[in-house]
Amino acid sequence: MRYITVFILSLIFWLLLTFKLTVPNIIVGAVASLICSLIFTRFFISNVYKLLQPHRYFWFIIYLVVFIWECIKANLDVAYRVLHPAMPIRPGIVKVKTTLKSDLAKTLLANSITMTPGTITVDIIDDYLYIHWIYVRSEDPEVYTGLITGAFEKYIKRIIE
Amino acid sequence: MIVYWLCFILFLVGLYGVITRRNLVKIAISLSIMEFSTFLFFALVGYIDGGVAPIVDPADPVKVYVDPLPQALVLTAIVIGLATTSMLMAVIIRLYRKYGTFDIREIKNLRG
């Protein structure tokens, strides 16, 4: 099952690269995808059945909208801090506990946090994310956990777990 | 013309590094800088104003192409450069394990 998934994903990637639907192209792509699936399947994500459940894609689209909105807000915030003559920054590293269980979900959360300006994920150790923040708004763990991961976490849980 | 001169100066910088530096890693870096300047010189010689990259489109034949011969020579030379650099690195890491230093003059004095 995992082999077939990797095969189909590689073939789709090949067709997007070449963008031609001729017979030799598809044959060459199929052979290349076969080699790719034989080599790289054991490094691929383990639970591929979730790729077939359509409601996850629905939540993913909603998550994209939420993410872009958060991104715009963070952009304006960072632009304000940069352009302000007094430079009101208060940088620091905070330790955030996440409720997500799977590794892929943690990675998606970390990448989302890194993509929004102002926050950068430094490391993940077990359930804790170490995040560098340009303006540490509060030092209470519950408050800053809600501020940083609150917008993303529930959608990511619906997408991946 | 000034591009040729700058390319030559890049070569001279690499030569200066090879002669005067005592650290083996820096000598390897200087050698690769000399390599790069040579590649750049070949690519500069083959360039033509208004030419396009040497890929023929059968539907739309363009008259002027950039010279493909220096590009083919440089193409093989780049991969050979990688091979020689990694071989140099292998020698350097061996010497470091044996003598514990990158300094070429100390290695010469040690005579191990």
């Binding site: 990797v6 994903l9 590689s10 990637f13 090949w14 690269l17 070449t18 031609k20 001729t22 030799p24 192209n25 060459v28 290349a32 995808s33 080699i35 790719c36 080599i39 790289f40 490094f43 691929f44 994500i45 590794d103 892929l104 943690k106 990675t107 970390a110 990448n111 994920t121 490391d123 993940i124 | 990259a53 890929i55 023929v56 489109d57 059968p58 539907a59 193409l75 093989t76 780049i78 991969v79 990688l82 091979a83 990694s86 690195m89 292998a90 890491i93 394990r97």
Partner: protein
Amino acid sequence: MKGMTLIVKKTTQLIAGMVFMYGIYIIVHGHLTPGGGFAGGVVIAGSFILLILAFGSDFLNLVKEESGSTLYENLAILVVLFLAVSGLLFGTRVFFLNWFPKGTVGQLVSAGMLPLYNIFVGIEVAASILTIFLALIIFKEEISE
């Protein structure tokens, strides 16, 4: 050698296959678009190096044995030599004779034997660069033990 953090590992799992497919694309389309055996071979070696760097050398059990990639490399250069010699059998006394039917310019299957040369030179370059990298990794591990 230890692996990197969780973020790098998970991203590598998703990306490595794509890098590999991109290398094959560059090799196979070498006679139509920029690229060819050298570029694609280095990209394929890069995908394996990415895996080894991200997961650490313990994760791949092929790391302790670099003879496999050396075997591929020698086989590939033998095939290139054989293809070059095969012109002698079918044509006049010309080394590197392109005796395959040429096809129309711009199609994927065209240019006679050039795609075959591309493919095998690609395998050769990928295997040799991977071998050099594995030799360095194994050497450093043996030193640190």
